[in-house]
Subunit: 421 residues, 2 copies
């Protein structure tokens, strides 16, 4: 890759020979249309055409071909499958994420020649770093604001996710903060509902966190869900900051990558990126984006913390998928864009050892919702149990050994092991 | 549906009994998590829980189940399939599209219980109309600006889509405008590339259109592709307007629905909504959104004109899909939100009769790219051939009869019939 190119990597299936299918994709996404037109000179194609760099055959997936896929008469039952790398000239779009998307992730998903087409990786030139500053805080900045320099970061989601009154939310936040939790977030379902306006939630929560911080000496980071129309994000962010808050959260797909980048330009607090709706783009092996692409684009757009699923989670990903995402999130691209992987979904203390073993890092923000709130002795004990499990994992003590001398942990194991294995 | 509810319709597959699977979805997207938590009182569930309204069995799809779908021991080979309608209390999110998405199209796509899950329709209460004004122009406003009160609207895309110099673009625009074409648009691949900055393109094109309008008495509408970072959309729009332009285009997925709504609040020109990248969300029958949902949300966000594929197009949709989309686009929702369906992809004069017969309307903007530019006598003859074909279709004359007395049409048939059938 030169510094004047973007390289996009696709996994495709097609009944055309893979090299030919890759050529259709490259043509559609640069100078071509269904017929050669007068202005499409050789010089123009040379300068603006996308180029197929390589085509590597892959074993067939056995998945149902996408609707509309063309199978020529006499073709085999199953399409070919291949990984193809295509280079796009940077000067076709410049370092603009929205215009990049129209090229590398645009009409190509609709091509009849494709029985599957998934954008699995994206190599970007340095010009993008000049335009998009990326995460302002990342892992190090998040730890600094939390005053939590080294342990695995333990957090929770307010549960129930929606519907708590402020007079119910206040004592919950108080208990969690007094228990020394590192991080609390609003549920992605709780934005600015008319029954409990965001400004009041911000004010109430920040009061509770300040009071707890006076007692404990550490202020819990709280990610307020400020997801809303683009024009409201800045004011929401400012309200969080002005009342002492240290983090804002947006649903990346709901405000769009462009919305995140817009917020990033105006934000002075870390951005917690929730991935709600990402499954629609990421889950099918036949179409859409691979997680690596989503993560790179979200980091470029400025998220400091990003959800990547959870080990033994309740969502679709395998542990291997989650580990790969954690690894990818911690791998610099464009020389930086360091962001904190957030593990959530069905998390509880019993998963700590497996998570540490599989990921090999403490640079994780692990969120347990029900796994903290539903502890038999209440949320504070839920936090203690999570801490105990992670301490044991870090020190090489087994869960059973740790539970033998930690009552909160023992009760958590008793409560959740049957449900979450 | 009450005026305090949103009803979301899903096609799901699950190895759980469909009613149970629907219940998991409703719980995950409202008050529930994997375990009942202390605050999840009956009163809270009653007020904030999503409700399964009905479950209708559907024949199995035979498609490959989504990754991670749980098949309990002893379950049949194929999952159940059903259409389920779920009511969400409006007060969970209020009339905010981003927060609506987090509820009706959020984490649910990731649930292991789902072997397929697709949001196929959305019924919204009037409150959304209070917040989102929708299209300011729609079909009637577009026709008014074009001075084209009744015929099918004929347009083209600048081709090659990327790479034309301004001294090549100028004569092309001039020829098309002098030929009386109703509409021209930039390719979705041509935003604001460094080799040909948008401001210069806007100025050059508007000069040509003004000059042609002086001669013909009608000004061709040109949709400038202003897709870019959110903070640049307003300035781009204003530049188009200030130099006499009458339309702007954005790639809806690339700027996000929230980005479109943001532009709409600031725009005084019609918004041409390109659907690049929509295939990633819309094409798979197993996940994502149905076209109806995308169209409703794009109209709500403010697009005046929206791409819906093309009859006999080069993309994946069947003619039935495209006809259904045209019909849906012309069906009011929330009492209005009228928008113009745009047909494109592989269009040429030979498709006019079939399109009119299938759609039954002239309220269409039909875009032929190669089908105009690659006409043997050049783009002006390409426009004439498109007009002749649509005139014949409107008057009940066959394509062959019309071609017998229209040389431009005859040449178009000769040129394209073999390629596009």
């Amino acid at each position: 890759m030169t510094d004047q190119q973007v390289v996009a990597v696709y996994d495709i299936e097609s009944w055309l020979p893979p090299a030919q299918a890759a050529g259709v994709l490259a043509g559609e996404q640069s100078t071509g249309t269904f017929v050669r037109v007068p202005g499409e000179s050789d010089a123009l194609r040379e300068r603006f055409g996308a180029t197929v760099l390589d085509v590597t055959g892959l074993p067939g997936s056995g998945n149902t071909p996408l609707p509309g896929a063309v199978r020529p008469p006499g073709a085999g039952r199953r399409p070919h499958r291949a990984r193809v790398r295509i280079a796009f000239p940077l000067h076709n779009f410049g370092p603009s994420v929205p215009n990049l998307l129209a090229a590398v992730a645009g009409n190509l998903f609709e091509l009849r020649e494709m029985a599957a087409v998934r954008l699995v990786d994206l190599e970007l030139p340095a010009a993008f770093a000049g335009r998009y500053p990326g995460p302002a805080f990342g892992t190090a900045g998040t730890r600094r604001l939390m005053d939590a320099p080294d342990n695995t970061l333990i957090g929770t989601i307010v549960k129930p996710g929606i519907g708590l009154r402020l007079d119910e939310l206040r004592p919950l936040v108080r208990e969690l903060a007094m228990a020394g939790i590192d991080f609390i977030k609003d549920d992605e379902l709780n934005g600015n509902p008319p029954h409990a306006p965001l400004p009041e939630r911000i004010k109430a929560v920040n009061e509770e966190l300040d009071r707890a911080a006076d007692a404990t000496g550490r202020r819990t980071m709280y990610a307020f869900n400020i997801t809303d129309d683009i024009g409201r994000l800045e004011a929401n962010h400012d309200l969080v900051r002005e009342t002492g808050g240290t983090c804002v959260m947006v649903c990346v797909q709901a405000v769009g990558l462009a919305g995140v980048a817009h917020l990033r330009e105006r934000a002075t607090l870390p951005i917690h990126g929730h991935r709600a709706m990402s499954g629609a783009l990421l889950r099918s092996p036949q179409i859409g984006l691979g997680p690596l692409v989503f993560q790179k684009l979200a980091r470029l757009s400025g998220v400091d913390q990003l959800h990547v699923g959870g080990i033994a989670g309740k969502f679709y990903e395998t542990d291997e998928d989650v580990v790969a995402s954690v690894h990818a999130m911690r791998t610099p691209f464009l020389g930086g864009y360091e962001a904190l992987p957030v593990l959530s979904s069905g998390q509880w203390p019993g998963i700590a050892h497996r998570t540490l073993e599989l990921t090999g890092t403490h640079d994780l923000l692990v969120l347990a919702g029900g796994g903290i709130h539903a502890h038999p002795l209440g949320p504070a004990a839920g936090v203690a149990a999570m801490r105990a499990a992670w301490r044991a994992a870090a020190e090489g003590e087994s869960l059973a050994e740790a539970a033998a001398h930690d009552r909160a942990l023992a009760l958590a194991v008793e409560r959740f092991a049957g449900i979450r294995g």
